[in-house]
Symmetry: C2
Subunit: 315 residues, 2 copies
Amino acid sequence: MFNAEKFINQTIESLNKEIKGKALIAFSGGIDSTVCAVLANRAIKEDLIAVHVDTGYMRKDESKNVKKLMDKLNLNYRFIDASKEYYKELKGITDPEEKRKIIGEKFIRIFEKVAKQEKIKYLVQGTIAPDWIESGGQLRDTIKSHHNVGGLPKDMNLKLVEPLRDLYKDEVREIAKALKIDCSERQSFPGPGLAVRIIGEATAERAEIIRKACFIVEDEIEKAVKNKKMSIPWQYFAVLLPIKSVGVHGDRRAYGYVISIRSVESLDAMTCNYSNIPHEILDKISTRITNTLKDKVNRVVYDITNKPPGTVEWE
Amino acid sequence: MFNAEKFINQTIESLNKEIKGKALIAFSGGIDSTVCAVLANRAIKEDLIAVHVDTGYMRKDESKNVKKLMDKLNLNYRFIDASKEYYKELKGITDPEEKRKIIGEKFIRIFEKVAKQEKIKYLVQGTIAPDWIESGGQLRDTIKSHHNVGGLPKDMNLKLVEPLRDLYKDEVREIAKALKIDCSERQSFPGPGLAVRIIGEATAERAEIIRKACFIVEDEIEKAVKNKKMSIPWQYFAVLLPIKSVGVHGDRRAYGYVISIRSVESLDAMTCNYSNIPHEILDKISTRITNTLKDKVNRVVYDITNKPPGTVEWE
């Protein structure tokens, strides 16, 4: 059986030996990066610098909560609000691949800047076994580019340290428990964040809309789960479609965006079924979205595509 | 009680007196225009010219069936396939109002041409009472522009004849029965046809896609109704969204259109609820659409918007 205490002690000791100088960690607030940061912080103290970038495409209150968590964990951190810069660089960009590329590259440039300023030599990453082992047998690089913001670049000349590399999620959870880390496990979230949940141009206005819509979807589904109306889906979120559809506002016709709700059950790594959310709940979500985003959104659809032929995210 | 036989005889007689020369009727194959055409044909024989225009935005087999019906009813008719011209005129047009306007005007021009060639003096229309009486108290012109292809123009200088003007739908059905007209009553269909079910540019390729998708929606819902899985909705159809969303084709990523399914229950003239179609049926429709339109469509959504704030049609 996995011994969390033993793993913690051994890892702190070996990190202490391995890291000679300052190290950087990209801190997302997820369980993997949090556990990893705490271990490295115990090993090398303030020589570990946690960096969190608010890209402007984070979920509701996400960056605020990450900041609180870094404070609570007593990490030496840099909190960088780059949202305005991101919105500016993504102005006019509609191609999904180009969007991802710009977001990833900007992320790297921010990291490079911190690394240079702080004379950093090591990069700590919370990679766990499922991140690089995939049933489909894909190459590791391909997978990482899906999950991280383009990964971190090889040409940064940082030595990569991955203390959780051989662990599975359950083991990471055991370590978190042993370390008394209280970090809520939110559903997995794509590296480029809400930007890939805005089809087409990812403007600040649209980011604000989709942030609210995603929150409503999470909130209503979690309430329904709590009230035993449905079981918790594997992933559930909203997508903004940049089509203007006609609606009724009082007596007049008005054009607004369309929000699509996506919720899936994972069967295995490669296939999913869309969730059979009761209509009662769907109706509630739809009404709350159009009521909350009155002047911006007048139509809500529910994605009823399985994977294949659809993917989980739209872009 | 309404006496169909009496109404038929009186109407034939009065049409015979009223119409001095040739008359035109726009023949859609719907129960109103069919009953109206049969009555006028009995009154003035081949002096009634039925005109059917295939705009390229008709439902699957619709124009073919209309032609068969006109043959069976022994009408003197002109069947005009204008689909290629329509696609050409709508090239590059994305604005919903402009699309409607172009479609309506083209329809009028086709009618004008026939009227001129045939030296026609009368226009017979199957207008019934609910077409001009509306609970909302709107003006007739406004309503007509919703239901007909822009209506027919006043400046055509044709005398308008509306023999069914005082009737309600049930009475029209009684007359159809008395006249032994076997015309299936399809759900109501917007004047500009499938063009308003293609958001953005209504190309020939997209018309072909949405025609197939609408047919699948009708077919699966009608099967489900027959199998007592659900009750018949008020309106049910598909809409093509011109966004390309990512999907999986074998091992590779592929971008395809999104199809939205719309199905509503009418509460009164002004408000609707979206239909609570069982997920089993939604899943079946979604899979059949992506299987049938494999290379074109990889995502299907279900519209869960009530009216208000959404309208029934999207444009």
